[in-house]
């Protein structure tokens, strides 16, 4: 064979950012196992997560003006090769995931030491990084099948992480097993859906699928694919009747895992839903229009009420927050079901705001578990005086959960109400406000337990260590900051919503 000269312009580090986003935590995970030392597992995890965070900031700063970065894996051109495609929508999700991961890792050291047995620490952080890189991969890839692969990487790691809670409570094992079964059914439905799309279009690249679907219009194969994908992702999102895995998984997982999952995993699944509903499929199709209007919208409203109502009657702070998460996902789905620029912006902003709010609250739960050895209301009775800083963080997070003006939660609920009124759906707007009253009740119950009840005699509970308070308060202050300065989040969310809706013809 003769030697061929191939023209090639060398790529620089800046061109590699999309690959590095996923690679850094992905390579750190086996490195931790290879070193196998408990002492350096946490520093490596933190360093790689912080690097991913820095990369996501750089990526978002490049695409916030609406441009798109495309990275070709292995040099193969899309649609044949796998493409990493970064636009405002997923750069925003990447930022949320890597930021929350870094914050939770800062918080994690003492929490993990107390809740996970020492011989598992290195493998625990390794599984955590695999989960992180899976979630980042889901968000960044532009290839439908690659989404499935990354979804499985993050899910498998999640099952392991949840099961680690068995050190404290054996029910973590059944919770993890439940999630494994449900999550696998979800993933199977998702991949069946992709199979249908591949059958109909002959391609796996999302942008390419979108083009071909809009060329050939709707047919039965595409509709079946759509149905499978919505149900499959719905399981991962914990869309109301498919949420049964979530409360147990969140309750029995180690605290830092719950904080991380609540802030990121369901949010990434929602991103996948958004990507498929708006970019791959065309919301203009009557079928999709009806699905959103007659199935997702009522279920979202039911979630807002039913899950919040169940949360009111919980006697465990952590479990209450888990049910509240199901309710809050209802708000996000409601924003999506409105099928308008404002509704979608509200959904994306709420995705971010709810992420930081729940991170702050679940980190506070972690602090209670460390010092008071439990998160049941009778464990944390009267801790408002003994753990003033942690309790104050609960107050801030709780207010944001309700949606009190001046907190992040208010911004997104306000947008949601605005979007409902824009559509002329004033009963929906009233329901959003009414369901917030349920949040007032369940948040009030916690505050009552913390501040109004006496500390049990002989309690020696001390304030949580600084390493836990600092990240908790960064998240709590972020709730306030993003409630006052809405410029960054709203601009990014509006650009993202615009980008997602740009491909769809039926709406504009």
């Amino acid at each position: 064979m003769s030697t061929e000269t191939v023209h090639h312009t060398a790529l620089t580090l800046a061109d590699h950012l999309p690959a590095l986003q996923v690679l850094v935590p992905f390579i750190a995970a086996p490195l931790i196992v290879l070193f196998g030392r408990r002492g350096i597992a946490w520093p490596i995890a933190l360093a790689s997560s912080a690097t991913a965070f820095a990369v996501s900031i750089l990526l978002l700063s490049r695409v916030i003006d609406g441009s798109v970065i495309s990275y070709h894996m292995g040099g193969w051109e899309p649609p044949l090769g796998i493409e990493y495609r970064v636009d405002a929508a997923n750069a925003f999700v990447l930022l949320l995931v890597s930021a929350m991961s870094t914050l939770v890792l800062l918080f994690a050291r003492e929490s993990v030491e107390a809740e996970v047995s020492a011989r598992h620490h290195a493998l625990f952080y390794s599984a955590y990084l695999l989960c992180l890189s899976g979630l980042l991969g889901v968000a960044i890839t532009g290839d439908a099948f690659n989404v499935f692969v990354f979804l499985e990487i993050s899910s498998l790691a999640t099952y392991v992480l949840i099961a680690q809670g068995s050190e404290r409570d054996k029910r973590a094992l059944t919770a993890s097993y439940d999630y494994l079964i449900m999550g696998t059914i979800g993933a199977t439905f998702f991949v069946i859906g992709i199979g249908f799309l591949y059958m109909a279009t002959g391609t796996l690249n999302m942008a390419d699928i979108a083009d071909r679907i809009s060329e050939q219009g709707s047919n039965r194969t595409i509709r079946a694919g759509f149905a499978f994908i919505v149900v499959g992702v719905g399981l991962k999102v914990a869309m109301y009747p498919l949420h049964s895995w979530l409360p147990n998984a969140y309750t029995y997982a180690p605290s830092m895992v719950t904080a991380f999952l609540a802030a990121t995993a369901t949010k990434v699944a929602i991103y996948v839903l958004l990507r498929f509903v708006f970019t791959v499929f065309d919301p203009g199709f009557l079928f999709e229009f009806n699905t959103l209007g007659y199935i997702i919208l009522p279920l979202a409203i039911v979630a807002m009420f039913a899950a919040s109502f169940i949360a009111v009657f919980q006697s465990d702070f952590k479990r209450m927050l888990a049910y509240s998460s199901v309710g809050q996902i209802g708000y996000i789905l409601l924003g999506i079901a409105m099928l308008s620029q404002t509704g979608l912006t509200a959904a994306i902003v709420h995705l971010f705001n709810h992420g930081i709010t729940k991170a702050a609250l679940f980190m506070a739960v972690g602090a209670f578990v460390l010092t008071a050895k439990g998160s049941f209301y009778n464990d944390i009775q009267g801790l408002g005086r003994r753990m003033p800083l942690t309790s104050a963080a609960v107050v801030v997070g709780g207010l944001s959960l309700i949606g009190v003006p001046g907190t992040a939660g208010f911004v997104s609920k306000w947008l949601l109400v605005e979007a409902a009124l824009e559509n002329g759906w004033w009963p929906v707007a009233l329901l959003v406000v009414a369901s917030s009253l349920l949040a007032v009740i369940y948040v009030w119950r916690v505050l009552e337990v913390l501040y109004m009840q006496p500390t049990p005699d002989g309690s020696t509970v001390q304030e949580a260590p600084m390493s836990m308070l600092a990240p908790m308060w960064i998240a709590a202050l972020a709730c306030v900051y993003f409630g006052l300065d809405t410029d960054v989040t709203l601009t990014a969310a509006a650009t993202a919503a615009e980008g997602l809706l740009a491909g769809s013809t039926g709406l504009q």
Binding site: E4, H8, A10, L11, H16, L23, L31, Y71
Partner: protein
Amino acid sequence: MRHHLILRVVTKLLIGSIMIFALYVQFHGDYSPGGGFQAGVIMAVGFIIYGVVFSLEDVQRVFPPWLVHKLAALGVLLYAGTGIVSLFLGYSYLDYTALSPHHPVHGQHYGIILVELGVGITVTGVMVTIYYAFTSRTPIMDDEAW
């Protein structure tokens, strides 16, 4: 299985050829059916059959659990590391052309051999780990009670 003489002798004879076959499937994988995954499974079978016929302690003396974990991680690193090399040479991640820029076909060849080797090592590690995880549990029935 101390009393099963035939099984023990045949196993000792077979293990060598099983491992050679694993290496054949591994390195001939780019010309014929096979590759890292299959080779890894076959290689793991070599260890697992040794564990089944002799005992867990015996196989763990040859292939200790800590080494199995490290190999599982090492394989992934070899795979990802191949990609990192092409990344540092100014090509896309996992673009094997970087390994031999003047002759891309050779580059693809070297790349796939390295990557498949990584897959093989990891699959061996993971398969043996799964076997160890199951058999390390305390037996309900004593081996002599059969």
